[in-house]
């Protein structure tokens, strides 16, 4: 039971991968990519959690109160920003692909290959 949060992280990564691989539309694919990325938020925050601890904000609580790890929270903040920037960028490229090629099915987009 005490490994459930880590199992969730594994689950989200694999499920996101599954969504990407089976996707037939680039917008769908990019959203699945963000689901896979959310696995890293869960893993980082779960790793830094401590039982019976408060958030690492010492406003109105005495110093030395048991608090969760602030570093993983800072890392996750960065990760959230990464996620939204990559989402916007890939969707912009997808819009362009659609305007030029008229399809967003990964199997049908004209491609350089071979």
């Amino acid at each position: 039971m005490s490994y459930l949060p880590y199992a969730l992280a594994v689950w989200l990564l694999v499920v996101g991968l599954y969504g990407v691989v089976t996707s037939r539309h680039l917008v769908h694919l990019v959203v699945c990519l963000t689901v896979a990325q959310s696995s890293t938020y869960v893993l980082l925050l779960a790793v830094g959690y401590r039982k019976h601890a408060t958030a690492p904000i010492f406003k109105g609580i005495p110093l030395g109160t048991k608090a969760t790890d602030p570093v993983v929270q800072a890392l996750t903040l960065t990760d959230v920003v990464v996620s939204v920037t990559v989402l916007a960028l890939l969707l912009a490229v997808a819009v362009q692909v659609y305007v030029r090629e008229g399809t967003l099915d990964p199997d049908e987009i004209p491609a350089v290959r071979g």
Binding site: L33, V71, L90, V93, P106, V112, R113
Partner: protein
């Protein structure tokens, strides 16, 4: 702390932000000027840093947060010889690229230079950082800038290359971050030296193995090692030539360098007992990359795509050097990737000249249509890629090959075969394009890629052509001429000896203790490696001539087509290969390293 250390990152990023803020109010040449000045400055700083890393690393704590009692509170840059050299190379490639693109695009807004500068800053940060999460940040910054630069077309090719780049590299970064989460949960540290010190006492259990797998896989995606390489060729085929210069010359090399940069301080402790098995796995991976890259390069007609596979092949040879797990072979890889990165950058600029003149970089389309000067540059570059002694990268390859003792005595033969394929591909293209040899029909090479719109050939002004060729020549001269720097191999080995001395390195980073100074020497290249180099060059020429006049039809058609069909350009396939590759590599780790 050396005040120069943060500048290679800070200058380009500040310039990018300022240029974005005020660029639209200023004339177009302003962006060129800023980018040129910054990249030259970054190159100069890189060279100065390189000269200062002779006896110790340059450790820099951002915000002045030095570690207290061995616990790092802030982020550190840890500049060693390889990092400083790659940083300088990145600046030089960027300078050449900016000079080259001065009149290259029909129109550029300030945003092109903004993105180039961000890319440069990210590259520098990735080369110099000594903090695992900070590496992730700069890896992502590189990816974000690169997606946009890849889509910045100089020809109306499909944008699918940019998407494949973003999606596959995105997953690479998630795997890396997952690995970071695992390691942080075990050690409570992000500084590479501190993680390593914390892991050193323990054994290689599941967390360490999987952490190593995920972190390495994240970097191997960036480096373009088989089977994580699929996105790379698509991105090159689409990205403008001046941008490919940066990808090929430094981005892939940095991914590779990161593997060594993380393995030695972090994992070499717990994995020390399994060095034999690990060596076998990494060398195998490198050999497969080298051979597949060479073979695929030989089967291309699009020159940018050909150079993409040449890059993959050469990164494979570099991975062999890292995978042998000795200081000498590691030094060999550093020399090899630095020198050949510059040569590949030069070749891509020559391809850019071709694109600018005849709007195509298709080998068969351009038959007999090249400038003689570029032909000379291209042929010299091809021979350098093949590894002709005593040209630049030869010394690197010799260190790798001479380090292959014991059960690895067969390595020179295989690396020679890989070099013959890569060099042969380039020389074949040089013969066909610049001398008009061979025919302009070659069914085995397949259809023309990325068919450009039929446009009139452009006749760029003489002045801009001179600048373009001069920047290509400059890169070639530096890359090829590195061998003339006396004692360079010895310096590289000295630096590598320090890299692999984990406890001393950790004490240097975390406590500021100066490392023991021992000057190592590099043995002169052995007869075997000289013979291998000569055989590679001769073989490449022979293969090129055979292909041009003997006909390619002799090649086994069915396996060739099957190999090419794997590179389908479909991103869902690539993600499947990525998953399969990680699962296979992980299975190998778990079975062999326990």
């Amino acid at each position: 702390m050396d005040v120069l250390v943060p500048l290679p990152v800070a200058l380009p990023l500040l310039a990018a932000a300022v240029l974005a803020a005020v660029g639209t109010f200023l004339p177009a040449w302003f962006g060129d000027l800023v980018a040129a000045v910054v990249s030259v400055a970054v190159t100069a700083i890189g060279v100065v840093l390189l000269t200062r890393t002779g006896r110790h690393d340059l450790v820099y704590w951002f915000g002045g947060w030095r570690p207290s009692h061995g616990v790092a509170l802030g982020i550190a840059f840890d500049v060693d010889g390889a990092g400083a050299a790659l940083g300088a190379v990145a600046g030089l490639l960027m300078a050449a690229s900016v000079a080259f693109s001065w009149r290259y695009f029909d129109e550029t807004g300030p945003l092109f230079h903004v993105l180039l500068l961000v890319f440069l800053g990210a590259v520098e940060g990735f080369a110099l950082s000594g903090d695992l999460f900070n590496l992730f940040v700069f890896l992502e910054l590189m990816t974000v800038a690169a997606i946009a630069l890849t889509g910045y077309g100089d020809e109306p090719a499909p944008l699918q290359g940019a998407l494949n780049f973003g999606i596959v590299n995105g997953f690479g970064a998630f795997f890396l971050l997952f690995g970071i989460g695992l390691l942080y949960g075990r050690t409570g540290a992000l500084n590479l030296a501190q993680i390593g010190r914390s892991l050193a006492g323990g054994r290689a259990d599941g967390l360490v193995l999987v952490g190593f797998l995920l972190v390495t896989a994240g970097f191997l995606v960036k480096a373009g090692v088989v089977p994580f390489h699929f996105w790379l060729a698509d991105a090159y085929a689409v990205a403008p030539a001046p941008v490919c210069v940066l990808y090929s010359g430094v981005m892939s090399d940095l991914g590779l360098n990161a593997v060594a940069k993380v393995y030695w301080p972090v994992f070499s402790g717990p994995l020390a007992a399994h060095a034999t098995a690990l060596r076998a796995i990494l060398v195998t991976l490198g050999v497969v990359s080298a051979l597949l890259g060479g073979a695929m390069a030989f089967l291309q007609r699009d020159l940018k795509r050909m150079l993409a596979f040449v890059t993959i092949g050469q990164i494979g040879i570099g991975l062999v050097g890292i995978g042998l797990l000795t200081a000498r072979s590691l030094a060999g890889t550093t020399l090899y990737v630095v020198s050949d990165g510059l040569v590949r950058g030069s070749l891509l600029l020559v391809v850019g000249v071709l694109i600018r003149r005849i709007r195509s970089c298709d080998e068969l389309n351009a038959r007999g249509g090249g400038l003689p000067v570029s032909g000379v540059l291209f042929a010299v570059g091809g021979l350098a890629i093949a590894g002709l002694p005593p040209v630049g990268s030869f010394f690197g390859r010799a260190l790798i090959e001479d380090g292959a003792t014991g059960g690895y005595r067969w390595l020179p033969v295989v690396l020679t075969a890989a070099s013959i394929l890569s060099g042969g591909a380039l020389l074949r293209a040089a013969g066909r394009i610049y001398l008009g040899w061979g025919s302009d029909r070659e069914p085995v090479l397949g259809e023309e890629q990325a068919s450009p719109e039929q446009e009139e050939p452009a006749h760029p002004p003489r002045g801009s052509l001179v600048v373009m060729l001069a920047s290509a020549a400059a890169l070639l001269v530096v890359g090829v001429g590195m061998a003339a720097w006396p004692g360079l191999p010895g310096k590289a080995v000295t630096a590598a000896v320090r890299t692999i001395d984990r406890p001393a390195h950790a004490a240097e980073v975390l406590e500021g203790k100066p490392p023991p100074h021992e000057r190592a020497s590099a043995p002169a290249p052995s007869g075997t490696s000289i013979a291998a180099g000569l055989a590679s060059a001769a073989g490449a020429v022979g293969l090129a001539l055979l292909a041009l006049f003997g006909g390619l039809e002799a090649l086994a058609r069915r396996p060739v087509l099957r190999l090419k069909a794997l590179h389908s350009g479909i991103v869902t396939d690539y993600v499947t290969w990525l998953t399969a590759g990680i699962a296979a590599l992980g299975a190998a780790f778990v079975l062999a390293l326990r």
